[in-house]
């Protein structure tokens, strides 16, 4: 019965599961996308899918920043790192993302100095400690992370640190969601909105989804009960003929977001005309680059980049997984050629990636839930 204990409040979970089942109209199927990789993780870890009636399925979205980095950007980062006197810094999750000639780790074994940092501020500290080196921060992440890069840039400017620059790969969540909505492959009935991204951007930016696309969205927390409650709220909206943005995670997410964070982004960065997302292709206005005022801190301007677009490996079906068209285990190389130890695609690298989450927990949870719910 470990499963039930894990649910914290198993009674509430059961009541919710029953209510969810009641709200399903017979013969109708409901497909909800969880945009955020953190949700994917919870869903697999706790076997949420098996708690839902058969009519309701959850599909995974593109909300894992490591998963959407295209190969060409990894190659560009390695190119910068291999220039003389460069120290590249990056979050740990990036270290194992394959570029067309291997990962950051592989590149280090050939002599580059790519260091893991916890925070962009650590990268700035390394720059101050190594005035004779160029220190570059490989910035990745959605709006959750972009403010931290922005604040670090403001600081670097204030202190006049000349040997620090940012290789900016920040992406913005809304165009990613819009690309999914515009894609003909998938019919969705609603969204579980990302939690942490929304602490920064708030709930307003999602309002076009009910308005223009007629789909409800519920911003959701990360606990298993949060997910069940949010699914319940989505179904209740559909049942009552409503279509709105709701905030299930109001205990953390303010409706207005964080204005200081948004201001820091706006001061240092602007939208790129377009950016490539792994598996999804080029999406317009979907990523951030440094403003011209910060050109001195822009690694893309400071160094000459090959900027070559590299096609994903043929065997890789990350794009389909990121769009929710394929389940991880439906990819031909899942669990055989592609594992967390030897990832072919990005979704297997980050723990928030759908493939890694399913590989680590999915199969296990399925079995356990079947046992627990038949008791």
């Amino acid at each position: 019965m470990r499963f039930v204990d894990e649910y914290r409040d198993s009674d509430t979970a059961r009541v919710l599961a029953a209510r969810i089942a009641e709200l399903c109209e017979p013969g109708r199927e409901y497909k909800f996308m969880e945009v955020c990789g953190g949700h994917t993780h919870t869903i697999y870890k706790h076997g949420i899918a098996d708690y839902l009636p058969e009519e309701v399925s959850l599909v995974h979205g593109p909300g894992c920043p490591v998963c959407v980095i295209p190969m060409g950007r990894v190659d560009d980062a390695i190119h910068i790192a291999s220039l003389p006197d460069v120290i590249m810094t990056s979050f740990g999750d990036m270290m194992r993302v394959p570029g067309s000639n291997g990962t950051f780790f592989d590149s280090n074994s050939e002599g580059t100095d790519i260091r893991m940092v916890y925070s962009p501020l650590d990268s700035l500290r390394i720059a101050k400690q190594n005035p004779d080196k160029q220190v570059v921060f490989m910035a990745i992440g959605f709006e959750t992370t972009a403010p931290s890069t922005a604040m670090t840039l403001l600081r670097a400017e204030r202190e006049g640190i000349e040997n620090f620059s940012v290789f900016c790969n920040h992406v913005t969540i809304i165009p990613g969601i819009k690309a999914i909505l515009d894609s003909p492959d998938l019919r969705l009935d609603g969204f579980l909105g990302p939690g942490h991204v929304s602490t920064v951007i708030g709930c307003r930016p999602y309002e076009f989804i009910p308005r223009d696309y007629g789909k409800p969205l519920v911003v959701a927390g990360f606990e298993p009960l949060d997910i069940l409650q949010s699914v319940h709220r989505l179904l209740r909206q559909l049942h009552e003929g409503r279509c709105e943005v709701e905030n299930q995670y109001a205990r953390v997410v303010p409706w207005q977001g964080n204005p200081v964070a948004l201001d820091a982004i706006a001061r240092t960065m602007r939208l790129r005309p377009y950016f490539e997302w792994r598996g999804l292709g080029f999406i317009s206005h979907s990523a951030l680059q440094l403003r011209d005022e910060y050109a001195n801190f822009d690694a893309e301007k400071r160094f000459d980049l090959p900027g070559v677009r590299v096609a994903d490996p043929k065997s890789c079906q990350c794009g389909e997984v990121l769009k929710g068209v394929l389940k991880p285990w439906e990819c031909k190389v899942f669990g055989t050629a592609c594992t967390p130890e030897t990832p072919i695609g990005t979704c297997m690298v980050s723990p928030e990636g759908a493939c890694a989450a399913y590989y680590n927990f999915g199969r296990l949870t399925r079995r356990r839930v079947k046992e627990a719910t038949t008791v």
Partner: protein
């Protein structure tokens, strides 16, 4: 890297109002609280920390819930905590 880790604010550094010393499951670290400058945390407050920055204030109950969630993640959480304990934000 996408994790938000709860920490309890122990002190605001006297000469650096944008830095707070926080307690994160046994680890003491300095983090940046500049993103909360509209409503700065005080000692005793809990904050959600992401890549060295406090992203939002949370209450103690939420902090406990997030921590329980993180502990279950296994290596994703321990890797993040390792990274955090190597961090030296100044």
């Amino acid at each position: 890297m996408c994790l938000g880790i709860p920490g309890e604010v122990v002190e605001i550094l006297p000469d650096r109002p944008d830095l707070a010393r926080v307690h994160v499951s046994g680890v003491r670290r300095a983090i940046n609280i500049g993103l909360l400058s509209n409503d700065p945390p005080v000692p005793g407050d809990w904050v959600l920390i992401h890549v060295g920055f406090a992203l939002s204030k949370i209450d103690e109950q939420e902090a406990a819930a997030v921590l329980r969630y993180l502990e279950e993640l296994g290596s994703a959480y321990t890797d993040e905590m390792d990274a955090l304990s190597q961090s030296m934000i100044e």
